[in-house]
Subunit: 352 residues, 4 copies
Amino acid sequence: MIIVLKQGTTLEEKRKIIENVEDMGLKVKIMKGASQSILGLIGETAKVEESAFFGSPHVEKVVRIKVPYKMASRAFHHTDSVIRVGKHNIGDGSLTTIAGPCCIESREQLFTIAAEVKRSGAHILRGGAYKPRTSPYSFQGMGEEGLKLLREAGDQFDIPVCTELMSTDEFELVESYTDIIQIGARNMQNFSLLKKLGSTQKPILLKRGMSATIEEFLMSAEYIMASGNPNVILCERGIRTFENYTRNTLDLAVVCAIKELSHLPIIIDPSHATGRWELIEPISKAAVAVGCDGLMIEVHHEPDKALSDGPQSLKPEKFAKLMNRVRHIHDVCHEEKKTSDTESVAILHAVI
Amino acid sequence: MIIVLKQGTTLEEKRKIIENVEDMGLKVKIMKGASQSILGLIGETAKVEESAFFGSPHVEKVVRIKVPYKMASRAFHHTDSVIRVGKHNIGDGSLTTIAGPCCIESREQLFTIAAEVKRSGAHILRGGAYKPRTSPYSFQGMGEEGLKLLREAGDQFDIPVCTELMSTDEFELVESYTDIIQIGARNMQNFSLLKKLGSTQKPILLKRGMSATIEEFLMSAEYIMASGNPNVILCERGIRTFENYTRNTLDLAVVCAIKELSHLPIIIDPSHATGRWELIEPISKAAVAVGCDGLMIEVHHEPDKALSDGPQSLKPEKFAKLMNRVRHIHDVCHEEKKTSDTESVAILHAVI
Amino acid sequence: MIIVLKQGTTLEEKRKIIENVEDMGLKVKIMKGASQSILGLIGETAKVEESAFFGSPHVEKVVRIKVPYKMASRAFHHTDSVIRVGKHNIGDGSLTTIAGPCCIESREQLFTIAAEVKRSGAHILRGGAYKPRTSPYSFQGMGEEGLKLLREAGDQFDIPVCTELMSTDEFELVESYTDIIQIGARNMQNFSLLKKLGSTQKPILLKRGMSATIEEFLMSAEYIMASGNPNVILCERGIRTFENYTRNTLDLAVVCAIKELSHLPIIIDPSHATGRWELIEPISKAAVAVGCDGLMIEVHHEPDKALSDGPQSLKPEKFAKLMNRVRHIHDVCHEEKKTSDTESVAILHAVI
Amino acid sequence: MIIVLKQGTTLEEKRKIIENVEDMGLKVKIMKGASQSILGLIGETAKVEESAFFGSPHVEKVVRIKVPYKMASRAFHHTDSVIRVGKHNIGDGSLTTIAGPCCIESREQLFTIAAEVKRSGAHILRGGAYKPRTSPYSFQGMGEEGLKLLREAGDQFDIPVCTELMSTDEFELVESYTDIIQIGARNMQNFSLLKKLGSTQKPILLKRGMSATIEEFLMSAEYIMASGNPNVILCERGIRTFENYTRNTLDLAVVCAIKELSHLPIIIDPSHATGRWELIEPISKAAVAVGCDGLMIEVHHEPDKALSDGPQSLKPEKFAKLMNRVRHIHDVCHEEKKTSDTESVAILHAVI
């Protein structure tokens, strides 16, 4: 961490700031510029906040050199993390597909869709029992009854299941029924909920908040990991911008960012990112081409009757076609990646 | 609500959509344009979601005419809501000031600051016992011990207190100690928490999420009101934009928007909106000039040693000066408003 | 266009608004709701502005049904526009690649890079002679000398060239040397410049402004087309958001939007969209997978010595590898698209 | 400027980067951290771009310490710049009001409005003769005929005039008729136009682009100043965000930012910032309370018949009332500012 002092800071004031820093267990190096001094902080700075120094009227700028997360960081864990769910691996270079209805509405609805997505090759079945709805007057989900149906469907079709947890109150309940616990975008910084997730080892699918920076996203993963659960799967679902053609603006560069900064797998949710079923196939193909570890897609056999998010649900036959197409893209990219990796190894050898 | 059908929609398809609408208990009027039909939905449309119709491939656009909130809406409650806290009224045309440390750190710290803000005329004492921190490694607040200190300070200095609730787990605890329950920006759409707030009648200070639209903000107020607690105070604290000179971008027009759309009082938090203590006075003056019902300001006697948000905390003497200055602005504006109201009445009489 | 009148609008006031509308040569249909009336405007509404009605205190909402652009719209020209440049077609289903240095710096630099990109299969050579730089102290380009070098390189390597026009002052000069005229993001709403482009038939590469909506983007294309030049190629280069990991946030859904709303070809500029050379390959693959008509990529043989945008320039060998990889993605997607089209025809026949 | 090198950079690579820096005429200081080195660049860094170093694969971060503008910076010119227009001073602590129609439509329209705004105490008359319109089919302004009317109105009512310049083509024409040349938000980075403005000494009113950072805003002012014209008045008119209740989101903190970073005066345009006449008075009061140097307000006697921007135009009687009210706010704030300044002087003396 670097602290830029304001022009005109006296020796006495500088000394005080240095003492403050040393009280935090850090060492300080000083660089004198033409008109300003710069302090370099050496030590365990990941846990120090920039704002700790901003209270001082003599500090002009604080620049973080090391990232503020540790366990989520690539520096902490060099190889990609692979998260196991049932017999399926997420993050091992394969393409994971999570599919199912936005909202569990009935046994018939869930089982119809489950059969279809399983047949098309989906690896995990999704379905909401507790739904975060903007309006208190909208359908809020079937609750425990929905969880039971989901568990049953998972067992019958031999497919792991994933459902959203909205509150610490329902943690034990949801955890007991599901294989993956999903945390929605609106709860990405619900820190009480994040901490609670440390008490299970079941994988957590953490969605990026709609205006969260990549650093905040990884800090929320860090909360879960620091609480005791290393099994975090990140999920990008679009950010909010001025452009309203799509429901959100999908930021695909985040896949590259996460691959550089972290070892955690990242999947893309094109359904929420676009809000329009016609865009799900092209955007899914783009997501796979950019290198994501998986896709999360809403499927409904009667989207015009869906109780939630009908406009962004694919019909089963469209989903089947999409599965084929994204697999082709994945195959092409995967083949090339293997070649690149061999090249990298070759270069490495040459260097040594 | 208006539904614009796509060009080329057949009579049969149109009939089906109309049946769907009528099944919701609504009436339909049809307007035929040159190439497209438009359906007008008449009835209780506040509870109908736009997305309910988007699943159909024949629907081009859905336009809401009536707002989706009811209890929070100005149409539902024509006169301004006044929220009583102890002996103080919020929303009655006076200027309410909530002040205190971001975070309760110790008895000495809290009581020193409480004495100062009370002396300067603050109406409510704030202080965080549970703190939502981006990093799991940052100080997370004193918890119940902090709540006890806050209650004690409130009693000793005869000033109502306000503190943040982060989780349903701590609802009973926090509710038992505080006079106003604050819900932070990151929890604005924590719907489980919002619903829980219906089980008290204590006022709720609801902060706007950092990327929430005004409609979403009022829908979150609606959640609390629909759950049984009408005592909601709105609080704007800046939205996230591309501009980083300030921590957030304060959207002061929201005060005008809320006054038009809702009857609830709205206060401004210039501390979080700017993140810089030098800006708090000018921005507070602007907030009062635009017509807000109050201000929420962080005060710390030793901001460079604050455990949280030091850079945006005012020293007590600066706060005292600010209090005088915003009162002057409020007096000028209030005087004029009374004149305007008399004028309006005069005009009204003339019309009748 | 639909006008929603406020509750309480008198018959007399309504009559006046209707007269205003009829004076514009439009017909009006009226729909009475439970508490509000809605006017439907029928006729040539593309040229009417929403704001024309907002001056009235009785108008609550104005909703446009038809898009405000005509010549750029898919409704006006059903099949995809194909723009011819030399012997190359843009928008015919093939993948066009435009490559070269950000800035022309010297004959040696330009010719070295031109040879390389031609060898790798690029279809068009780019190079800036007039550079829009944020700072007046940055290198502003070689001017006419640069244009001459670009023309010479194009002729020598038998490749059409593309360069940016910044001002009407240099229109004749730039137009005389280049095959495609590029309009930068900062000039997307430089309306004087757009009008001037109507006096040539050379293709215009129009970049989206960094905070332009898709509608504004197409309206700027409309300016050029309405002035007499139908040969517009759209180019997305990222929009400005709160996220700063990349220079801009690339909005790939814009490709789907443009394909739906317009007949014009759209290409993607991953160099400006990301600002980082490591991201150009993955983002290019995503852009091709989503269905864009081409890519515009900055290439430099010595990026650490480039006078502009070095960090986002690919070295020639990386560019060669990228060309192969995006071609694979394009082949996979193109093959599938042909199948889809055949299917669509089949379905169409079945319907008839 | 600080360069943070990546972990693992070799001595040889570090030496090369240092040589590059020294070739730019800068000195380098080195600080070694636990795992990374940091280079401090000393000298004329304002003219060096961050991106110059990003081409190197060994550079992790580049942090600017000094601002990249010089003539526009407070460090270059400590006291506030006062811009003289006719007999009126802008930036001397008084409140300047610029008022008039968005668009000059006819002699009768302009003279009616000019008489009204002059009577209410406006200092400068505005009116557009060349209008930047999103649609090529909208009224584009009266051109030279409009300029003549504006000049005539200015002379008859003894009030300086201000009008927008859109293109270098019309520079001589516009410059010959107007007292202040306005550059619109969409042309803030039309660098050819900015450079041209150096050939006059008439004041330039430079509007902030709708997604321009404060640094980019000041860099555009720097373009004009570096070209030879120091008389720049900045104007904030709202930025584009996700919130659509108002046309733009007014960022009032920019006034504080500009006062800290620059010596140039800054005025606020509440008409474009909000797009709604009902908000103009409250937002104007806020703008004055925060400390701006002036207001630019659209006035029209028949806003429902205005050819442009009717919804955001005030009627003359509302404008007259607004003038009184903002003057009251200004008086209160100005009185206090004088007291503060005296205090500052007192403190200064004490320090010496």
